[in-house]
């Protein structure tokens, strides 16, 4: 048990017996009154989103979790398929729970998966990831406006707004949370 005031983003909580991941958390004080924690929670099995507002001193049930390195194999349009790299066990995570992750995860890459006993709860994607640019239009000649941007598509299908000098086949560093371009990577 923890106090609602200690809830943090990414934490797993047991709400009415079912595990939920905290995807957003903020403190709010309406008027000059006491503080509340407003959290957006997501069920990893159904993708259902729950909004909860709790008093900071209320207690909530947190879940003891562990993480296992797993290789992302593919998705079949409904589930992401993973393989635990130490046991070679395969398991699935519903895509509805992590909608845009198909554009962020690379086939064959190892990701940390958070488990509660045998239930996968969360997929950890690094904050900054290098992607190869799969589709990019050439910059239009004479377009010298400072800060001009265009949209490119990465190897994973993610659309990213980048400066016009980025070419197809180049590598770019992307913030996976905001899906924004950070810099070009030379390698």
């Amino acid at each position: 048990m923890i106090k609602a005031g200690q809830i943090e983003k990414g934490m797993a909580l047991l709400i009415k017996g079912a595990p939920f991941i905290v995807v957003e958390r903020e403190f709010v004080n309406p008027g000059k009154g006491s503080a509340f924690v407003r959290a957006k929670l997501k069920s990893p099995s159904t993708g259902r989103v729950l909004r909860e507002t709790m008093k900071t001193q209320d207690s909530v049930e947190d879940v003891t979790v562990d993480d296992r390195d797993s290789q992302y194999l593919y998705n079949d349009g409904e589930n992401y398929h993973f393989m635990n790299t130490s046991t070679y066990d395969q398991f699935e995570i519903p895509m509805a729970s992590f909608e845009d992750y198909q554009y962020l995860m690379k086939d064959g890459e190892i990701y940390r998966i958070i488990f509660w006993e045998t239930t996968p709860l969360d997929i950890i994607i690094p904050y900054k990831v290098v992607y190869k640019v799969a589709e990019a239009q050439d910059a239009i000649k004479g377009d010298t406006v400072t800060g001009a941007t265009k949209v490119v598509v990465t190897e994973t299908g993610l659309k990213v707004k980048v400066p016009i000098f980025i070419k197809q086949g180049e590598n770019i560093l992307v913030n996976t949370e905001t899906k924004e371009y950070i810099e070009r990577v030379n390698k």
Binding site: G31, R51, Q57, D58
Partner: protein, 260 residues
């Protein structure tokens, strides 16, 4: 400021620094911030809506998007709760009834003792505030009387003559028709002081004393306290919105969030 009003100052305003450390430091809050506060005599909370609209029209820079400009959308708290939570506050004035409604709405039961005010706030913050229209600044009028404050009672005794202004979903201002009844003011401070003592603050937090003489400002037969309305507006937040900044850091020179 109420002392000045009692002394016959007439309409007054001030811009000063406020300090609140119990709120989340982030895109909309810095513990030290600037508040614009003004009182208009012979006016009530409804008049203050018009004054605030005039102020917005005056200070908004050219090109300010429409959703930050007057005319404001005006909705009562009662109607918003009916629309977005499906509850009729008039019929939920006891804690028992509000609890029943809350559990029907899927609001988790608190596992510590809870007041009507706290439960109402949780319903508002969960179901109403995230849904409020943002196409125009929104004035939420007539807050429940069970949220204790120094606003005068509305004609319907379940509510206070109070409003809050939201723009782009951000809380910007709070306004009352000021309570002028000395007994009710004294009672308010007594209750506040008692509530402070029971709130789970840091162990060494100071508990403010009742301002013992304050209510006397309202009972001086030689100088009757004027009927008036006061508005307090978070100036940094307004500058942030008008300036097109995503975060309050854009308008604060030394934001605390930079140092932690």
């Amino acid at each position: 400021m109420k002392q000045l009003l009692a002394d016959g100052s007439g309409n007054i305003f001030q811009i000063s620094k406020c300090f609140r450390n119990n709120e989340q430091i982030g895109t909309c809050h810095n513990p030290e911030f600037s508040m614009l506060e003004w009182y208009t005599v012979n006016a009530d909370y409804r008049d203050s809506i018009a004054h605030t609209e005039e102020y917005f029209a005056e200070v908004a820079p050219p090109g300010t998007p429409e959703h930050l400009l007057p005319p404001f959308r005006i909705e009562s708290m009662h109607n918003l709760c009916l629309t977005y939570a499906g509850i009729d506050l008039d019929k939920l004035q006891t804690l028992g009834k509000l609890k029943t409604a809350a559990s029907r709405l899927g609001i988790t039961v608190s596992n510590t003792p809870e007041t009507w005010e706290s439960l109402f706030n949780r319903i508002f913050l969960t179901l109403v505030e995230p849904e409020i229209p943002q196409d125009r600044p929104l004035v939420i009028t007539e807050y429940p009387a069970q949220i204790h404050c120094l606003a005068a009672n509305a004609k319907n005794p379940y509510y206070k003559e109070r409003w809050e202004l939201y723009a782009a979903g951000i809380e910007l201002a709070n306004c009352y028709s000021e309570e002028t009844n000395p007994d009710r003011i004294e009672e308010f401070f007594r209750a506040e002081s008692a509530a402070f003592a029971t709130r789970p603050y840091a162990p060494n937090a100071a508990i403010p004393d009742i301002p013992h003489d304050f209510h006397k400002l309202f009972s001086n037969p030689a100088k009757p306290f004027p009927r008036c309305s006061g508005t307090a507006l978070g100036l940094d937040r307004l500058l942030m919105l008008f300036g097109g900044f995503d975060t309050i850091k854009g308008v604060i020179l030394f934001p605390l969030s930079d140092t932690i």
